[in-house]
Symmetry: C2
Subunit: 508 residues, 2 copies
């Protein structure tokens, strides 16, 4: 009987130790365990400010998760007997697509060793370690193991639409923490849309002043978000959606419009007719100044210009635009859009940016230096890859559509048996969960992102053979509740809102 | 039977309508109700930017609490048939102790009228209204009534110690929201103590750089807190605790100390020996520069200099200090402390501030222009009032001591049958709940403040005859859960922390 109990406890522990999300590429359990005691020190022989700070937070979080208060709270630089050592030699000054995120972890009974090529790999390793903490019968420990891990896809993103409903800074920040904890690495901020221009422009202040209800990020707040994200190994890619989805711009600058009239901020949702006028110098000069301002603000190499859902009614109505098409021998509005995008591309190239847009901008008339985000179909993703365009998958990752988790999970950018060559497969950079906010606001957004985005996080990091839907469903409640440590309200918001509504009754 | 049900519903509604905290001075129920519909508009005939913003938030919160989405979200300036009208003529530029917070509310079946002398009274009225929303059988409504209300005490404060454990900005802000919702009006920030100097000084940067673990408010963040608080009718009073509780200052500036040695930030808690040296010009020049810097940063008229728990060991050890005492004929260390405080008083007076300190500074040798906060006993509060000193009660309001709510509630600054004349009673300005943070941190602080501080909020606003412990215990669960709308974690933090600790199990 005693043996059975011991066996049970052992398997139980192994099972617990398996609750890693995303699942590492290689994970080998060993005999024995590393007991977490108050004597533990964390050593970084070769550190940077960011790595030191990440490690300090790691130490604090380890204490909360283990219930053990350490004697030494600061990372050390000299060796001790019972230690977690973080060995990394490079420090990425600027995060980019090529930043190496690989790491290995060796847990033995006496020490834990994290090895990574650079600081970002060390961040990923620390998140894995935090998921590996076991508590049982008043004891906290790691089960000995070796882990070798690296991401399958380089781009593992989350889009947050801060236009339809405003999302305050602190909610963005805690979701960056959540992303980093499951190794997502791109925050795509959808900053402008019909309903709001949500970022301060010093060049054209009427954009945010008249193009919003007063809720927008100042440039200092944007710098704060970028710093916060980068310190956690998360890039920030801005989106300025042009030439459609543009009503908010036109409230302050109606001369940009295809039809010169008064514009108001729309209150409802849908696809609106307002478009930029692509036939006038004024539009391009304006965009040159604005985009250059924003290229300087956002250090990331990628710059997203939207480009989706353009209604051409106003283009067709404006005779100057028709004459412009004739002049440049543009036989369709699709060609006019490509012509417009080429001009934007030259602005962004001058600013050393890679232009990125929704699949509506995908057109063989544009060079394959652009990156395309596919939201309408997956087939065209393969098509683009064959034509040498880098691409991102978002089709099937729409969090606002409230799919079942298994549907998000099944959806891989590169399914088995696809028709792409190895070289073509490399053109597919990864994917992005998209959180459009027509039907969520700051109180409910987190309950829509999480835990669904966990499935996408694992799919984009782990190899297909590590992805198992039954295991995922076991992991979700554990990992989802771990996100609460950052202040996320995805689990609590329902109760909070019910209590707001039902002043008269106690809601449990 | 039907009549009984109707009667029951009616009394049930009356009962619900009674869940106001703090209880208003006069509250008369009338027949009928004002139904909340999507047609409702809120009108402010005479507005200011702050009042407009407060009202906008009020409109948003009304929708959450009623479940009714209004057609018009912005405050209006022209009359409509179904309206809430806010009539106020004055707008306080600078909040102070004399800011009039009185208001009246008249709810009839067709309209709701708020009348107040100035914008702050209107804020208080809106909070009362939000507590009065009833939801029942898919309907939301107010029961008709007249309310005439004003505070009993002018000073209804909450002290937050951000030194022993660091409390981040966003937690301070949401607690300001909570304070305003129960009509508390002073946030007392305890900014310096042995364990940390938690505010940026541009004049002496080693104070925050060496005197903290890197966690402090920048001056911009302080401005942000003050603006946020003032917009909600909450004053911010800073405390710089001198000449004891001073270790953190001495890490960067050891020459300020009574014993010139190296100082480190203490890791534990208790009363430490380190004191400022009151016998040297250097100390006073330093304080003059620093306090002048801080007087400019904080617009409030009151400036708190702490002054508590001075251990005189180091004063006794230093011969220069002994000679200084002889020179000025100071026969005791108490006299030396009073001498020191007189010099600080002259610095603060030059900066047009009212000096405030803990009861340790209370000394007939100081003029009665100072204000004293009594933490050690209530008797000396009356004594001070008789001697013409303004005073604040904190004795009995220590939230860190985890008293029963009824003990906080019973504790009134002016109990019935006290021996003070009417004039002397006016010297007692109010009280302050104190949240010392030795044994709470940013994760647990809210569960210690709330709901206990609700009892103190009601005691300081309402007349004694409106304070009833049985009613209070009925109100607490309702009002406490209402605070969650601001993001407070006082109810949820226990579950969150248990889930952090117990990765392996699901904690309900």
């Amino acid at each position: 009987m005693r043996q059975i109990i011991i066996l049970f406890l052992f398997f139980n522990s192994i099972l617990n130790a398996q609750y890693l999300l995303p699942q590492p590429q290689e994970y080998n359990l060993l005999q024995g365990k590393f007991k977490i005691t108050e004597e533990i020190k964390v050593r970084i022989p070769n550190s940077s400010e960011d790595l030191y700070q990440y490690t300090s937070r790691f130490i604090e979080r380890m204490q909360y998760k283990s219930g053990i208060i350490f004697k030494t709270h600061e990372p050390q630089d000299t060796s001790t007997s019972k230690e977690i050592v973080i060995i990394t030699n490079k420090f990425s000054e600027n995060l980019d697509l090529e930043t190496n995120e690989s790491y290995s972890i060796n847990i033995s009974s006496s020490s834990i060793k994290i090895t990574s090529e650079n600081n970002v790999g060390a961040y990923r390793a620390m998140e894995t370690l935090l998921q590996l903490i076991n508590t049982d019968k008043g004891e906290a420990f790691f089960i000995n193991c070796n882990i070798i891990d690296k991401p399958r896809f380089k781009w593992r993103g989350l889009l947050v639409d801060v236009c339809r409903h405003w999302i305050p800074l602190d909610i963005i920040k805690r979701n960056i923490d959540a992303m980093a904890s499951v190794k997502m690495n791109v925050l795509h901020l959808h900053l402008t849309d019909d309903q709001g221009f949500r970022i301060e422009s010093k060049k054209f202040p009427k954009l945010h002043e008249m193009g919003s209800d007063g809720k927008y990020y100042t440039q200092n707040e944007i710098k704060d978000i970028i710093k916060y994200a980068n310190e956690r190994g998360v890039r920030v890619v801005p989106e300025f959606d042009i030439p459609g989805h543009i009503s908010s711009w036109l409230v302050g600058y109606p001369k940009l419009a295809s039809i010169d009239q008064n514009y108001e901020l729309p209150k409802g949702y849908g696809v609106f007719k307002a478009t930029l006028n692509p036939s006038q110098d004024f539009t391009y000069r304006f965009l040159d100044t604005l985009l250059t301002e924003m290229c300087l603000l956002f250090p990331d190499k990628y710059f997203h210009i939207g480009g989706d859902e353009i209604l051409v009614n106003d283009w067709n109505k404006n005779k100057k635009i028709q004459r412009y098409k004739d002049k440049y021998m543009l036989t369709s509005n699709k060609d006019l859009h490509a012509h417009f995008n080429k001009k934007i591309l030259s602005i962004l190239s001058r600013n050393k940016k890679i232009m990125m847009g929704w699949d509506d901008i995908y057109n063989p008339k544009l060079p394959n230096s652009i990156t395309v985000q596919f939201w309408r179909s997956k087939e065209s993703l393969f098509n683009a890859a064959k034509n040498g365009y880098n691409s991102i998958l978002s089709n099937g990752y729409y969090l606002d559509k409230v799919n079942r988790i298994e549907n998000y999970y099944k959806n891989t950018p590169l399914p088995k048996g696809n028709s792409l060559t190895e070289q073509e497969q490399k053109m597919i950079l990864g994917g992005e969960a998209t959180m459009w906010t027509e039907i969520v606001n700051y109180r409910t957004i987190e309950s829509r992102i999480w835990p669904s985005a966990l499935a996408i996080a694992e799919r984009l990091w782990s190899n297909d053979k590590e992805c198992n839907i039954d295991t995922l469903y076991k992991k979700i409640p554990i990992i989802s509740s771990q996100l609460e440590e950052f202040g996320l309200m995805h689990l609590n918001c329902q109760g909070v809102m019910l209590r707001m509504l039902s002043r008269n009754s106690v809601i449990d």
